[in-house]
């Protein structure tokens, strides 16, 4: 138990067991909230692959979330008997393709230029979703995505109109991807991306292909955002332009920075806080979005590490052996 890695494994295992038992002692609303937190965690972590690890500040990450959501919805809607998991994987792949194309334009640029381009491309895709009614339904969106028949996954049969099967499906997918993402950030590739963030000229001199590494990270992040988007589409059973507009990009920025971009777990904590906080405060006042903005400004001015920075370092290290920055 003294070795930090062992402690982490134990702590994470306990967390996972608690998550799997959660539906038994949470009510319906709380379970639904947990599902939301799960896919937004994936989205926020994918955002942090860009900012926390590669140092790329994107203002258009909803583009890929939306691509994933729309792809899944359109496939489920137009192709009869479309396997759900295939539709969701396609969501991730289409988002990754979008990531390659948009990334090609953006990753050569740094700082403000990168931020501006990501925002512009996000608006471009939003405009497409808005105008291409035949495909996307415009502002009416696409509904009725959940398959009518229970889906078979090897030995289990899931009726997704029930909340618990939905919970376990979303949770398993999210945990698998979060685990794989964590593994990637610890890999030599993850280290090289962080070296680029630290000083890209030095990384280039050391022989790393800076542009290619950034493009790969951008694509990978888009893929994750796409998967998160397809989970969103499935759970909401509805996709509209709100999944691809600037407020969705804003939301992921809030979530990532609320939790803290300096560690892998920060954005996960951030999305949990965001979902609970908005749920709580929107019950109190109609002006909750204003308050959210003020909170964000305070965060940027005074607490740049995010909420995870308020947790004592010792406690943090139990969950995360080795931080991103």
């Amino acid at each position: 138990m003294r070795h930090p890695a062992t402690r982490s494994i134990v702590a994470i295992s306990i967390a996972i067991i608690l998550l799997f038992l959660a539906p038994f002692f949470l009510n319906i609303l709380q379970t639904r909230m947990l599902i939301e937190i799960a896919y937004f965690s994936l989205f926020a972590v994918s955002y942090n692959f860009l900012f926390g690890y590669a140092g790329l500040l994107s203002f258009g990450h909803a583009a890929f979330f939306g691509l994933g959501a729309y792809t899944t919805a359109i496939l489920m809607k137009t192709i009869g008997g479309m396997p759900l998991l295939l539709a969701m994987a396609s969501g991730g792949i289409v988002a990754a393709l979008g990531g390659v194309i948009i990334g090609f334009f953006c990753v050569r640029r740094k700082g403000a230029y990168f931020a501006l381009l990501t925002l512009a491309f996000n608006q471009f895709l939003w405009a497409m979703a808005w105008k291409w009614r035949a495909l996307t339904g415009g502002d009416d969106g696409i509904g009725d995505i959940v398959p009518d028949q229970p889906i078979h996954l090897g030995i289990v049969k899931l009726d997704l109109y029930e909340l618990e099967p939905m919970y376990y499906l979303v949770m398993v997918i999210v945990l698998v991807f979060l685990g794989a993402g964590w593994y990637l950030t610890k890999s030599p590739f993850g280290n090289s991306v962080m070296a680029i963030k630290g000083n890209d000229e030095r990384a280039a001199f050391l022989g790393y292909n800076v542009t290619r590494s950034k493009l790969f990270m951008f694509t990978f992040s888009s893929f994750y955002a796409g998967i998160a988007g397809s989970l969103f589409a499935l759970f909401q059973d509805f996709v509209a332009t709100s999944s691809i507009d600037l407020s969705m990009s804003t939301q992921v920025i809030f979530m990532a920075f609320l939790g803290g971009t300096g560690s892998y777990l920060g954005p996960i904590l951030g999305s949990a806080i965001f979902v609970y906080f908005t749920d709580w405060i929107s019950g109190l006042t109609d002006r909750w979005e204003f308050i959210l903005g003020v909170l964000f400004i305070i965060l940027v001015l005074f607490f740049r590490e995010g909420f995870i920075g308020l947790i004592p370092a010792k406690l943090r290290s139990i969950f995360a052996t080795g931080e991103a920055t």
Binding site: L57, G111, A112, A115, L116, V294, I297
Partner: protein
Amino acid sequence: MESTLSILFIQAIHGLVYGMLLFLVASGLTLVFGMMDVLNIAHAGFYMLGAYVGAAMLLSTGNFLLSLIVAPISMALVGAVVERYFLRRVHIHGHAFELLITFGVFYIIGETVKWIWGNFPRPVDVPGILSGAIPMFGTAYPVYRLFILFISFLVLVLMLYVFMKTRIGINIRAAVSDPYMVNALGINVPRLFLGVFSGGAALAGLAGVVASPVLSTYPGMGLDMMVDTFVVIVIGGFGSLFGAFVASLMIGELQCFGVHFIPRLALVFQFLLMAAVLIIMPTGLFGEKE
């Protein structure tokens, strides 16, 4: 009887009007970027807030001239506060947090507008003296749009004068090309930057007031303007005032002719143009800065 030619002329002038409005907003944005490498996302927020403040003035006093003066001045004050008490505080923490703070300000301006004036469009009446139309190219052209042209060209001439003939203008141009050197030469660059930031905000506010009777006021107007000015800056080249001018007119014309001929794709054209410029001339038409 309107001929095809007269329609083309009218569209061209429409495009010129919108292009000049774009330039009023984009000029401040590109100067701020040129001087401090800060992409001021809140800039289009000043445009929107200016439009709403101007419209509120017009509604309560009925005096358009007053709103034409009050809105830019109040935006200059808001801009100065944002620069002095928000942007400058995070400067030492790097570009990312500068961007995030202006983004936060943009968000709050948007929410404030929704809070005070509601989340729906509010049309603004064309002020009495400037309503009506005059004959032009065989058809009637609204006087108010010509007034926008007049105002924006007036501002353009003033800007040219300031930049070419005054000490401040020379300092600003020097600071855009190398702020560290100018600072080392004993010019107070932070103060100069504060001036440019708040002056840019005033211009954005002015653009908002003059635009509101034509484009109406709505909570999404800031975002629409932001995206257009971003495209302008990419095409014109970062930090280049002349590039911003040329690109503004290009985007203005492109949008007006686009809406006229292929309305379904009008929203998409500017992005395609932007992508094309990025492939062919990555630094923009007149940009030197990376």
